[in-house]
């Protein structure tokens, strides 16, 4: 320790659910805890599909850590859960409530600005009592090292800070995890990308149209041929007075198909199935995007280095359990366990003692087994081999396949199979599970919808125009290292706020003629950036978060 730097026992970077849980638990242990959040308010940088789970088997849940959480910070409990297999206008719906309720104590829809800002207030109360507190508008930009060992953090806005424990809860684009060499932005296969629209709907209209009570909520998933050949699906969750409607796709599939994420979202929004709920009224409050790590592939098995521990998205702790994505609950568990690990090992000379204990706690609590199921590792070797996929695809496409999926017994079995946590966790990341099978189910068992949708979602330009930005003029947070189409062209379509032939997005491609030869170059304007991190993976960039308080500010999240 040097006298030059301020010192706190613990510094938590990021005040989402993972950081909030870590900080609250550290405060419970009497640890002097400083929380640094780069947004103007917690939640202003955060997006989720919108369901937070409390698992019966989890050691910690949000309402354990924060009294009154569900009453104050969530939208509706999810009481009805369905998946819709779609083929054109033909739809076959399965009740997924059994899968949804498996190991579920409760599950509520949430909007992150409301939820996280509520958590921030509670965390500030708790941590202030330890001599710390929550500071917003502060971006932590890297790790402070002493003779190569991590001893603290550096910030854009503040002098460096030393700490005995550093909790990186700085999200999917964690700059600390990358600085420590624990995570990278290398492979599109390891990520999903989600986009979401929050759409106005009056509470009684929600109750009426989704056939639920005021204290109930519905979740609907969508798969099949809605999204052409892009692997992924859609979701719709009911909030108190709005709907969260979104789509989530494998990033590698988005890139392969040169698909436009906002168009895939529009394909869902304009499907006749949704027209029955909208009743020709559509007002979009907010368009948002987020990168989602696939924990099966990237959840770090030993998420620590020296005094640094990673929790939540920063550690890749986002579980895709078949169609159900669970992230916030694991971040909460991980954050609280990291805090416990520090409390247990407090005073130990070995700086990595807390990290090691945290790893053990993740294992012993069964959390790591959920994030990286062993059976997936076994299944993926089979499931992702093209020959197997092709063979299965051919069978499904054949009359025999249609017959097998199409008979009435298969219908019942399929609904049961969808509800099996064991089976869905083995679903390989191929088009079979996402597209071929659901399409076939819809074709064979589905009912045809005979009305059309009149919904016209906003254009991408309008969506960007409706977002709130505090642009850091003259100080772009992303630099394009290679502007060739080969290196960075994928960002033009994959970036959720860019599109082909759209001049108002982040990434544009331009034909440039030099010395008589024409080549396509990519240019970048970070003003409309929603900080999702997609381009960091699919393009060649130097990617950082904007300075504290700058950039996009989500109102809903």
């Amino acid at each position: 320790m040097t006298d030059d730097h301020e010192h706190y026992e613990a510094v938590v970077v990021g005040c989402g659910p993972g950081g909030a849980a870590a900080a609250a638990r550290l405060a419970d242990h009497g640890v002097e805890t400083l929380v640094l959040e780069r947004g103007p308010e917690a939640g202003s940088k955060n997006v989720s599909g919108g369901l937070v789970y409390a698992e019966e088997s989890a050691p910690y849940t949000l309402d354990d850590l924060f009294d009154g959480f569900r009453e104050a910070a969530t939208e509706r409990p999810v009481t009805d859960y369905y998946i819709h297999n779609v083929a054109g206008n033909s739809v076959k719906t399965y009740d997924l409530t059994d899968l949804h309720e498996h190991d579920t104590d409760w599950c509520d829809s949430v909007l992150r600005r409301d939820m996280d800002s509520w958590l921030e207030t509670r965390v500030h109360e708790k941590t202030s009592a330890t001599g710390g507190g929550v500071l917003t508008n502060v971006r932590v930009n890297g790790l402070l090292r002493d003779h190569g060992e991590i001893v603290g953090v550096t910030c854009d806005e503040l002098e460096p800070i030393e700490a005995d424990l550093i909790v990186a809860a700085d999200g999917v684009n964690s700059e600390l995890a990358r600085d420590a060499g624990l995570m990278d932005w290398a492979e599109p296969e390891e990520w999903f990308q989600g986009v979401k629209a929050v759409v106005d709907m009056a509470p009684d209209a929600i109750d009426d149209r989704f056939d639920i009570g005021p204290e109930e909520g519905a979740a609907h998933l969508f798969s099949g041929d809605l999204f052409e050949d892009v692997r992924g699906g859609g979701f719709l969750y009911t909030n108190a007075d709005s709907l969260s409607i979104g789509t989530v796709f494998h990033l590698d599939s988005l890139v392969e198909q040169s698909a436009e994420p906002h168009e895939l979202l529009d394909a869902l929004l304009t499907h006749p199935l949704l027209a029955g709920w909208f009743k020709n009224e559509y007002h979009e409050r907010e368009y948002a995007a987020k990168l989602v790590p696939d924990s099966k592939k990237v959840a770090h098995r030993r998420p620590y280095r020296d005094r640094l521990v990673l929790v939540g998205d920063a550690a890749g702790q986002m579980q895709a359990q078949g169609p159900i994505i669970k992230g916030m609950n694991h971040a909460v568990t991980a954050g609280a366990l990291a805090a416990d690990a520090f409390a247990i090992t407090r005073g130990t000379a070995d700086p990595a003692a807390a990290g090691r204990r945290y790893t053990t706690l993740l294992e012993d609590s069964g959390t790591m087994a959920k994030l990286r199921p062993r059976r997936y590792d076994l299944a993926r070797t089979v499931g992702e081999r093209d020959t197997v996929t092709n063979a299965v695809e051919r069978v499904l496409a054949s009359p025999i396949g249609s017959l097998a999926v199409g008979n009435p017994i298969a219908d019942r079995l399929l609904q049961r199979a969808y509800n099996s946590p064991f089976l869905v966790s083995m679903l390989p990341d191929t088009k079979t599970g996402y597209i071929s099978l659901p399409t076939l189910i819809a074709e064979e068992h589905g009912k045809t919808i005979h009305w059309e949708s009149d919904i016209e979602p906003p254009t991408l330009e309008e969506r960007i125009g409706d977002l709130t930005y505090d642009t850091d003029v003259g100080n772009p947070h992303i630099e394009l290292r290679d502007e060739s189409a080969a290196a960075s062209g994928a960002a033009v379509t994959a970036c959720p706020v860019s599109a082909r032939d759209f001049g108002g997005g982040c990434y544009r491609s331009e034909a440039v003629t030099t010395n008589g030869t024409e080549e396509t170059l990519v240019s970048l304007d970070t003003q409309p950036c929603v900080e999702c991190g997609t381009c960091a993976i699919v393009a060649d960039t130097e990617w950082e978060h904007p300075r504290g308080g700058k950039g996009v500010e989500y109102r809903e999240g």
Binding site: E6, Y8, L34, S128, G133, L135, V138, L158, I161
Partner: protein, 288 residues
């Protein structure tokens, strides 16, 4: 550090709030009174001092009883621990000179009744009078050093000195660094920006902001009002009688000449064609 921030209530000149009569004279009765915008900067400087060194900030103003709201605004929007209002019918219609005499009496009384003062902060000019004289005149009456146009401030509590950066405007802006002993009078420049570069300062700032907002909700409990007797002032030397300034006349603000004419047209009708025809020569660059 014990700081006093001098604030003044001014008409709210913001769009929609301000009201002028037909002759272009300000209608005080119809225009709400708000804290002089530049005073916020002075309050920020006092808050920065308190965050860094601890201490106490008192807001002080001269004006009718309603000016308690201005002091409340100072407490709510930035920071003060308590408020002192110098209010008396005898003080009405004071010019800068009489105001300075009254304020210096307020500061003297404060030193006698409350505590020794280390720093007095004032904003640069008021939005109504724009004389920029009251601060320096008050300071002259106190016989303290004054540092004006301050854009950055450091205090050394042990040495009892301050070091300030001053923005000196000339053909080009120059920044001058000066040192002065405490107690001292500081006039902040609108360019002054408080800086909090450590986590502990930011945490303190956040705590003080929360406390002052809570306090401001119950402002009357923190407000002390002094009249001319409390201030030990002779009525002949204050208010209108003590004001040597003679206002020769007040010019109404001239109305902007209106040369534009608006015609509503229906974009779906033939009217649009007429507009295009009318605009055409200008589009071609042939307009005059």
């Amino acid at each position: 550090m014990r700081s006093i921030v001098l604030t003044k209530g001014v008409p709210d000149f913001s769009e929609g709030a301000v009201s002028f009569d037909e002759d272009g004279h300000l209608e005080r009765g119809k225009t709400p009174t708000v804290m002089n915008p530049n005073d916020e900067v002075a309050l920020q400087a006092a808050l920065q001092t308190t965050v860094r060194h601890g201490g106490h900030v008192s807001g002080m103003s001269m004006g009718p009883p309603g000016y308690g709201e201005v002091l409340q605004e100072a407490m709510a929007s930035v920071y003060t621990d308590d408020s002192y209002l110098l209010s008396d019918r005898e003080l009405a219609a004071s010019d800068t000179w009489a105001t300075a005499i009254t304020l210096s009496a307020g500061l003297e009384t404060y030193q006698e009744e409350v505590a020794d003062i280390d720093l007095v902060f004032a904003g640069f000019k008021t939005a109504d009078g724009e004389t920029g004289q009251t601060g320096p005149q008050t300071c002259w009456a106190m016989e303290w050093p004054i540092v004006t146009h301050v854009i950055a401030l450091d205090i050394d509590p042990d040495e009892r000195t301050l070091r300030a950066k001053r923005l000196v405007e000339g053909d080009i802006d120059e920044v001058e660094t000066v040192e002065a002993p405490l107690p001292c009078f500081v006039v902040t420049d609108p360019e002054f920006e408080p800086t909090y570069r450590t986590a502990s300062h930011r945490l303190t700032h956040k705590r003080l902001r929360a406390e002052t907002e809570e306090r401001a909700a119950n402002h009357d409990a923190h407000l002390t009002t002094w009249d001319h007797a409390d201030l030990n002032l002779d009525p002949d030397y204050i208010g209108l009688d003590g004001s040597p300034t003679i206002v020769s006349s007040v010019d109404p603000i001239p109305k902007a000449p209106s040369e534009r004419e608006a015609t509503m047209i229906d974009p779906d009708e033939d009217d649009m064609g007429d507009v295009l025809e009318e605009m055409h020569p200008f589009a071609a660059g042939a307009g005059d």
